[in-house]
């Protein structure tokens, strides 16, 4: 199963490290990372494979969210299907 992690906020040192440390610790594989500035806001979008994740999805979601709070960013993980349903036929 794949999910999308979005990081939105002000650019700073250690964003990728912060997110990927959590992912490595929970056995989540990163498939793709893109980062861009959209409407003056730093946006990082990461596609991940979560089938082998060693903690429940909701716990992973909470860890990422807490990391976001710690770094002054908004970090969110969502099942990929929500975007596919809206943008792909």
């Amino acid at each position: 199963m794949r999910a999308i992690i979005t990081v939105i906020g002000n650019d700073r040192v250690g964003i990728i490290a912060g997110v990927s440390n959590i992912l490595a610790a929970t056995n989540v594989n990163i498939l793709d990372i893109t980062q861009t500035i959209m409407q003056d806001v730093f946006t990082m979008i990461t596609l991940v494979e979560i089938s082998k994740c060693n903690i429940p999805f909701l716990d992973l979601s909470e860890r990422l969210e807490n990391k976001g709070v710690e770094m002054g960013l908004r970090i969110q993980i969502q099942h990929e299907d929500i975007f596919n349903s809206m943008h792909r036929i």
Partner: protein
Amino acid sequence: MLRPFEIIETLEMIEKENLDIRTITMGISLRDCCHPDINISCQKIYDKITRYAEKLVITGANIEKEYGIPIINKRISVTPIALIAESCDSADYAKFALAMDRAANTVGVNFIGGFSALVHKGYTNGDRKLIASIPEALSTTNKVCSSVNIASTKAGINMDAVAEMGIIIKKCAELTADNNALACAKLVVFANAVEDNPFMAGAFHGIGEPECVINVGVSGPGVVKCALEKVKGADFGTVSETIKKTAFKITRMGELVAREASRRLNVPFGIVDLSLAPTPAIGDSVAHILEEMGLEKCGTHGTTAALALLNDAVKKGGVMASSYVGGLSGAFIPVSEDAGMISSVECGALSLEKLEAMTCVCSVGLDMIVVPGDTSADTISAIIADEAAIGVVNTKTTAVRIIPAPGKKVGDIVEFGGLLGYAPVMKVNSYGSADFIKRGGRIPAPLHSLKN
């Protein structure tokens, strides 16, 4: 691979434009809960609802977190209680409402609909008892919603029921006078009621429905408004196309959630209802969409045409996105639940008469209208009759949810709180309709040829 702008677009719809799943509603048949002893019947109802809906709220909450889409309400609709209660020998049907309320509290849903009767052609004994017990049922419970279907295109309008509902609404107002007549906000009088509507207060589980079903209502007036802001000044072809594309995206998301909820609960998926259902929150208003089209204020000349276009385009976009679109699907125009409607009434742009015209082309009818406390039962019945006539002749669902707020006068503000919002008291025509309502009987079904 999804493109970043697509991901950001979805996130913005949810965070800035108030896109949400308005409700996951589980429809439950209670047809096996009849019993001559009312207490046993009530117990069966409680047991069945709590068994079927045990995991509804937690499942909804999990989907919400995993997909990152807010699911505002989890609700239950049941078989019209008049059909179930009829087998018991007691006339005290309010007991059934108490059982429903208890069940709703146990499973944690915020409303349960189906304290209902279908009397469009006439009353059975059970219908009569149920309608008589509505005021008590709605004033002694918190979560129970009630509806009565008094007309249909095939049967005509049951004017005896129309007359009675005026009296029932007044009683509901009196019994909850100290709470701004809140009972009236939980009571809908329908013409051509639909069997799979997931929205309250009018939801019930129709007799053609399966044992148990999941229906989902999506919403997103804010998303449509924001999409229209990007095509300022464009012609109506573009306006319609923009609304269709937006409705398509919203509905696709609704179908995903509906199918996921149905899979996890092991209950068949029924329909997606793609209604634009406003809330009093800023940026979640249907009136503001109409104003975005170029009207200075919702309610002015041109409003009916704008609403007709909106309602039609929403349906067209939605039916492309899901094969199972149903319920009321379209644009709701409740007054108290829509910041733009409230503002239009306050400044005098929107009258009851214009709202009635708008109901000819919107998805339902006169919804959450507050009128002076001294409005007579006959006048309320006459308002219901007018609305039913629109539904019956135009083969559409119409409804009346009207609140004659005790002690309130035109211009006063009545506060309901939460999603029900607040509304200014609207002026009703001061001339009487008593002799018209007193006639009783049935207005025959309309002719379906010679259309003009």
